[in-house]
Symmetry: C2
Subunit: 522 residues, 2 copies
């Protein structure tokens, strides 16, 4: 029987404060944490075959559950493998508890092979980095880590856990207690001024993101916009947004800087709620990265530390806004026919999407028609690639399925991005998660063909072109899925895709559909 | 026609200084670098589907070629994906040029979604981090990066490359010129003192690693050991070592601290050449991490900055050592029969290994019998997991095949580790690399079952045990390989493995053999 050690105290503290899921890819330095899972059955440990999958799963979980999961990583290299998806979580402001196993305290200075600067790397994406130095105090440290993850503002908080802190005696030590997070409102005078400005402006835009892009906040934002004549706009890549029939009509800020600048042209007042002032995703030669014209008055009304819903409610109250937000009408979509391309792909998704589905979208160029096609389909949630680090989709789908066990998860995944974290399929099979994965197979990094022209680079020969090409050899995602225990099917027409989607959505458990789109951009 | 821009100047400088291979997974910020590949055909661009594969390939290439390859990474997340294998390269002291695309200089401060602290992360594993700030000077910066990678001591050097430095005008700018690296010797008096100590010691050990574990240096070390009565020992995980019939007899320092301490027991003098003073890989409760007894006199004669071969030659000269090093006798191994297990697996490898093969070993627990089984087989090179970050094998095999195009590469890869960077198989197929991959499938993280007991943790229930188990669902590596264009076969007996190995070694191009070992430790 293991006595109460630091690992046990840590797990008890996590569970006691509502953190009861841990996505893990452990190693030797985390063995006492793993052993303690047997003593704390309230903690659900979920194995991933790669830390990038575990981290992306924690991101997806946190977005749908609005409460943090833990992710257990093995030393500095494990944290490195998780970095890209923790970067996406940082951009999504997802609360995540990143627990990084470290060598025993006295072992670190010996520079053994796996030793590296864990804290230095963690500091680049964490709201706070805490290194626990004592078994008796790891409960307190864990609670502080949760506090730092929940915020506000929320984000990735890192707890570095030396092996001897895990295995050391913690008999009688106190559980850590979290504080209750409170989200404040901007000053009343600031809200009043923003409302007055919105009323006075000629062409105001209300830009929402983060926590303002979902649920009640989004509906209130619709009312504010309707009462003031403002256009309601959502940031380009919200962490999770409420969409579909009955939800407020929102225009989405374009990824393409040229279009985004057009959307913002003529705007004299831009009021933001939990959204950054728009800048170009990448820089382009001869183009300004700032998308807001110099004549636009930008009012950053509420940030990620604020209560967006209460702020918007205050605005509604000040406005006496009785206008309901204009809503998307229910608009059933017919089944598509004929060849598979970006348009028929989007139509097939729209025709089959069921109410309450969580869509995890990493469709990139292949998904360009999705937003318009699905505007009037049954209401659903939509997760997007917040930080631009590809390979988020499959892992986030794992986490979303754990966080929303009663929902169907629809993961729309580009072929190139899928290969970053393909082993997420194994965890879907292992946990029998209700995820339908659709691979958009166009056998290329199509987005780079697009960006190549936009940055003014010219490809004249095969050496450069081959760097964007995934056709040699062709990937067979049905074989890859089978190799990890997930049934799959390849579809070549719109009808086949629609049939496969309906079959998958009607069947519990994971499955994969490989949708063969035209090569390159479609 | 693209004019001479920073990217072109960079590529010209790399090629002009002997860096003519670039493993890449580019993104938008690297498009001008990619476009310039068409103008500089001497640079070979090799696409990987994941930066971790590209980085591991650069490590493998640098080990066998002893000259650096470049790896092209996409912003901070791409560098994060590469971190684990750059960590292994750091520990191997492999020269690697890590080129990390960054946003245009003015774009960085806008905090666009993909922005992160590239330099802060790079500093944790790089010998030097250079951020190029001018198109005209990127040649100079590239040369400085190569200098920092080549050393001595060699290692990973990082060049952060803003997009506008790539696309900006560099007409007429000068190519960068590298300095000629020189490796010095320890002071003559230091060498003389070490030789005198070796002669006087009761039970001396000569511990070689790094550049002292290969080729001429190893043979000279054997002579020194034979003339002084020292035991010749090699570090646990040398980057690349010379092995097999006709090579000096060397004992390898054990991974298991208990055994390593026994190997070092009674030693009154430990002389190291390009090897760290032995410490335990991990810490264990109640055990000292330092493996060298307090009575042992440790002389760190030569470090990674020194010329190990010249140092050993000086020792041979001082000793007038005419004794040739004791060599491993040629000892042909018979084909194994019967069930597949660790022993018959090793015997099958030994029975089929051909002269000049490069073995990339990430066999972990499954490969425990390999070292003894292959001691007398035809001479070969052996790469090992220097930094403990799993997922190095398949990528390093890619790089080794590019760096040694006339050699057969034999990649021995554990199932758990394989899944970290499985997409390396696709690059093997794309480039038709002559790699035979053997997957040691035991459906578990067997090393953790071993380590669990060693750290004193007890697994009493299924929650913890399941974290070490890969059997549900079973991975099908033949299907995975087929999905990436690599032919594969599953073998269940020693005879089948031997037959499959001979067939694969006789056929050019990549293939995979899934060797079904008993579950867990064998």
């Amino acid at each position: 029987m293991t006595t109460a050690n630091g690992a046990r105290l840590l797990l008890d503290t996590l569970v006691n404060n509502g953190v009861d899921v841990c996505f893990a890819n452990p190693g030797t330095s985390e063995m006492h944490f793993v052993a303690a899972l047997d003593e704390v059955p309230a903690m659900r440990g979920i194995l991933a075959l790669f830390e990038g999958v575990a981290a992306g799963a924690a991101d997806g979980y946190g977005r749908v559950a609005d409460t943090p999961a833990a992710v257990l990583l093995h030393l500095g290299p494990g944290q490195g493998n998780a970095l890209a998806n923790l970067h996406n979580a940082r951009r999504a402001r997802t609360p995540v508890i990143s627990i990084v196993g470290e060598h025993a305290i006295d072992h670190v200075s010996l520079d053994a092979p796996l030793t590296s600067d864990i804290q230095g790397v963690a500091a680049t994406f964490s709201t706070e980095v805490i290194t626990s130095m004592s078994s008796a105090e790891v409960g307190r440290d864990a609670a502080s880590t949760i506090d730092a993850a929940v915020g506000p503002p929320s984000g990735v908080a890192t707890l570095v856990l030396p092996a001897d802190v895990s295995w050391g005696d913690a008999q009688g030590a106190a559980l850590g207690k979290c504080t209750s997070p409170t989200r404040s409102l901007p000053a009343a005078s600031t809200i009043e001024a923003a409302v007055a400005s919105l009323r006075a402006a000629e062409r105001p835009i209300l830009l929402v993101g983060g926590r303002a892009a979902r649920d009640a906040a989004l509906r209130l934002a619709g009312s504010v916009a309707a009462s003031t004549g403002a256009e309601l706009m959502v940031e380009t890549f919200p962490a999770i947004s409420t969409r579909g029939a009955g939800t407020p009509i929102v225009s989405r800020l374009s990824y393409l800087a040229e279009f985004a600048a057009m959307q913002l042209e003529g705007c004299d007042l831009l009021v933001t709620l939990d959204a950054q002032t728009p800048v170009s995703f990448f820089a382009y030669p001869g183009m300004d990265s700032k998308l807001v014209a110099s004549g636009t008055n930008v009012v950053a009304l509420a940030g990620p530390e604020h209560d967006a819903t209460a702020t918007l409610q205050a605005m509604v109250d000040l406005l006496g806004a009785t206008d309901p937000a204009p809503r998307n009408e229910a608009a059933p979509v017919a089944d598509p026919t004929g060849a598979l391309n970006g348009a028929s792909f989007a139509q097939a998704i729209a025709a089959t999407l069921t109410e309450g589905t969580v869509v995890v979208d990493e469709s990139n160029t292949g998904g360009i028609h999705l937003a318009s096609a699905t505007a009037g389909v049954p209401a659903h949630d939509w997760l997007s690639l917040t930080g631009g680090a590809i390979g988020y989709g499959l892992p986030a789908a794992v986490g979303a399925a754990i966080g929303r066990p009663d929902s169907k998860i629809l993961c729309l995944e580009s072929d190139g991005s899928a290969m970053y974290t393909i082993s997420a399929l194994w965890t879907m099979a292992r946990e029998q998660l209700d995820v339908t994965t659709v691979i958009l197979s166009n056998r290329s990094y199509a987005i780079l063909n697009l960006e190549l022209a936009r940055v003014g680079a010219t490809v004249e020969g095969s050496a450069a072109a081959s760097m964007l090409d995934l056709s040699s050899p062709e990937l067979d995602f049905v074989a890859l899925a089978r190799g990890m225990g997930v049934p799959g099917v390849r579809v070549e027409t719109a009808e086949e895709l629609t049939t496969a989607l309906r079959a998958s959505l009607a069947t519990p458990g994971p499955s994969l559909i490989e949708a063969m789109l035209p090569p390159g951009l479609s």
